[in-house]
């Protein structure tokens, strides 16, 4: 399958350069008098004014950059594909090429995925929508319910604009209005969908009805949710409290869902509702829940619960729950409502290893027993926040990377490389380090110096 990447961002004037050569026949390999600036990326469009000839603006999609060679594919404008060097003004002089983002918002990208006949990708392509941190994304809800005959859809962030594991350090998605109650900021009803590297702040939604960040409705085979930061949901969103990653459909027993290397924190309900961070309870297939860090879940109401990860209510389900951290659960009512891990039914299958729960969870729901007396001897239980040792839990500068004294360091299990589980919250390849995996979304210690090259060294 071909992969087509399109950029998503608000910069509609990234750079303007003049082509000085082109080879090939759609796609064209174009060179410029001056190379476009480094903000220009694969997936951007290149537009050229052809008013002197066809009367149109010609749009090309930038599909590759190799040194000074820019590969572009004609998409629309004029009657047929035309080389960029043939686009001239009324005096025959070469027209400039203007680089812009392909889409300005995530919703409009989704609307194009929903369309039957876009000319920007092939009908069976793997389509990648790549966010750029030109400005904050404010989309209230994006409903991926159709992908036509596309092979897969991925919503990701350009590598230059990815977060570094802390909020607001890369492309930020901060909705400014409600999604609709139980609707979710991202709602997914398609197979083969990946959402990764997003930084979703729910901080503007305290008075809005948004109570979920990512909702999977059940047709979600081979869906992957990875390397995301989701945080700061407060207030009272309505009759149902926050459930940040929530599967609400069953899927099929052969379907696989993967949720890994995410950080979810500061989820605080204020009026008589329960809270959960990852809820795959109705899922009837395979759920891989690996290396997530969940911190500070607060419910409201004497009968309400704060739950980190809940799974396994369907007998056919197989839940693989490994290397996760759940810490700081607060409840108003009985202590049994503080639940780090909850395997809901006894008949389902759970493969658990090396999970951590802190001293705020009830023992029944700790990483060892998970509501079913699993007696997982690899679990770390009863740990304090000081033992977990996050770098910063200070409001406004939260940094849930592991600090130097953490009990999570090299306390995990190697999960291989499937679906990129080895890539931690800020891009460190755990496998490339040769050290034992850490628990949670961050790989600390030796791995730190090899995965994400230092921009410069701090002099302390």
């Amino acid at each position: 399958m071909a992969t087509t990447t399109v950029s998503i961002g608000s910069n509609q004037n990234i750079d303007t350069e003049t082509p000085n050569g082109a080879t090939g026949s759609n796609p064209y390999v174009v060179t410029f008098g001056t190379n476009p600036n480094s903000t220009v990326a694969v997936g951007d469009i290149m537009t050229m004014d052809d008013s002197a000839n066809s009367g149109d603006t010609i749009i090309y999609l930038l599909t590759g950059i190799s040194g000074s060679n820019y590969t572009v594919k004609w998409c629309s404008g004029g009657s047929s594909a035309e080389s960029p060097t043939n686009i001239v003004d009324e005096y025959g002089d070469q027209q400039d090429a203007v680089f812009k983002r392909a889409f300005s918002t995530i919703i409009l990208f989704e609307a194009m995925v929903d369309d039957s006949s876009p000319s920007y990708w092939g009908s069976s392509d793997d389509v990648v929508g790549e966010l750029h941190a030109d400005s904050t994304f404010t989309d209230n809800t994006v409903n991926f319910n159709q992908k036509q005959s596309l092979s897969s859809v991925k919503l990701t962030v350009n590598s230059d604009d990815r977060h570094d594991g802390t909020a607001e350090s890369g492309a930020l998605w901060k909705p400014t209005s409600g999604s609709g109650h139980d609707q979710g900021i991202i709602r997914v009803a398609i197979d083969s969908f990946t959402v990764e590297w997003l930084d979703i702040s729910m901080a503007s939604l305290d008075s809005a009805n948004t109570n979920k960040a990512i909702v999977l409705t059940g047709t979600n085979d081979d869906c992957i949710i990875r390397n995301n930061l989701i945080h700061d949901k407060g207030g009272n969103p309505g009759n149902n409290g926050p459930h940040i990653i929530h599967v609400i459909g069953a899927g099929a027993s052969t379907d696989t869902l993967t949720i890994q290397n995410n950080i979810i924190y500061e989820i605080v309900e204020t009026n008589n509702d329960s809270v959960s961070a990852i809820n795959v309870n109705p899922w009837s297939g395979i759920a891989n829940i690996y290396n997530n860090t969940i911190y500070k879940l607060t419910c409201a109401g004497s009968s309400k619960s704060s739950t980190g990860i809940v799974f396994g209510n369907i007998s056919s389900s197989v839940s693989n729950v490994k290397n996760n951290i759940v810490a700081l659960l607060t409840v108003v009512g009985a202590s049994t409502l503080a639940r780090a891990y909850a395997k809901w039914a006894s008949g389902s299958t759970a493969n658990t290893a090396n999970n951590l729960s802190d001293d705020t969870t009830h023992a029944t729901y700790n990483a060892e027993d998970m509501n079913q007396s699993l007696n997982d001897s690899s679990a770390l239980i009863g740990k304090t926040l000081a033992q977990i040792d996050f770098v910063s839990t200070s409001a406004g500068s939260e940094d849930l990377h592991l600090d130097t004294s953490s009990v999570c360091l090299e306390a995990g299990v190697d999960l291989g490389t499937t679906n990129g589980v080895n890539i931690d919250i800020d891009g460190v390849d755990r496998d490339a380090t040769g050290v034992t995996w850490d628990i949670g979304a961050d790989q600390k210690s030796e791995a730190e110096s090899t995965g994400n090259p230092a921009f410069f060294l701090l002099m302390n």
Partner: protein, 275 residues
């Protein structure tokens, strides 16, 4: 208020329909998108020591759009100032009464590996800003931008839709009216009036909502613009609007905009769908 409208029906019943308002923006949201672009970290360089250059445009923007300022005081202590309340406290490796702590050396060490970092240094000590405010005074932000750059707020009144979007969708703006007697002036629309226009049409929920309740989507959008009946108001023909090789931008200056009730309609009220 600006809306972007689907042109032509999507391929299946659950797709967007012809005329659907896909997304809507307040003028303040539009101003903020442009302000964020002007003050994007990539527009600013580094000092010789690798910390971000304390450009007055960037610092003014951060002061006005962030909730906290953090200033390192020594090897362990950080002063945190709430820029909304001016309340100050000291945080360090010892948890405070709220359990908050920070290892500032580790924190700063990690941040500055990111080439888009926003860590500044003054007199050998780092400072930075945290957490974007929910309620940003956009006029104040643009005052700063106009003071420290050549950009004018008045030239940034349109959402930066892409050329692809202007071919596959229709960009339209509209206004409200403020009446004095029988005469009116056109005014910007804000908040809920705008955002309701981009709502999904969801079935009314039951009175008792179960925890695993899945709202039923009746239509991908509840509001629409019947542009095919509004060619005069939009100054654009149906053929042009539906031609994907033609860019259509129906946005007008404020004094020429049609009233919101002339352009936008609720499918439920119009009897097109029921929830």
């Amino acid at each position: 208020m600006e809306v972007i409208v689907k042109v032509n029906d999507g391929p299946v019943a659950s797709s967007y329909k012809d005329g659907d308002i896909v997304q809507a923006f307040t003028l303040d949201e539009i101003y903020l998108h442009h302000a964020q672009q002007k003050c994007n970290v990539k527009n600013f360089g580094f000092e010789i020591d690798g910390f971000r250059t304390p450009d007055p445009l960037l610092l003014d923007f951060l002061e006005k759009t962030r909730t906290y300022k953090f200033e390192r005081l020594n090897s362990n202590d950080v002063k945190r100032t709430n820029l909304i309340t001016n309340q100050e406290d000291i945080i360090n490796t010892t948890p405070n009464e709220s359990g908050e702590r920070i290892n500032v050396y580790q924190y700063v060490s990690r941040r500055i590996k990111n080439k888009n970092h926003l860590i500044f240094r003054s007199n050998g000590l780092e400072y930075w800003y945290g957490k974007t405010k929910n309620d940003i005074d956009i006029d104040s932000v643009w005052n700063g931008i106009e003071t420290y750059s050549g950009n004018l707020k008045s030239q940034h009144t349109n959402f930066p839709f892409s050329d692809i979007e202007k071919r596959y969708f229709a960009a339209i703006n509209t206004s409200g009216r403020s009446y004095v007697g029988d005469s009116f002036t056109r005014v910007e629309l804000s908040g809920d009036t705008v955002h309701v226009r981009q709502q999904i049409a969801l079935e009314n929920p039951p009175e008792e909502i179960p925890e695993d309740y899945a709202p039923i989507v009746v239509a991908k959008r509840r509001w629409f613009v019947p542009y095919w009946d509004l060619t005069t108001e939009l100054d654009s023909s149906v053929d042009d609007l539906r031609n994907r090789n033609h860019m259509c931008d129906c946005r007008k200056a404020m004094e020429e905009r049609e009233h919101i009730d002339i352009l936008t309609f609720d499918k439920v009220t119009e009897g097109i769908i029921s929830i």
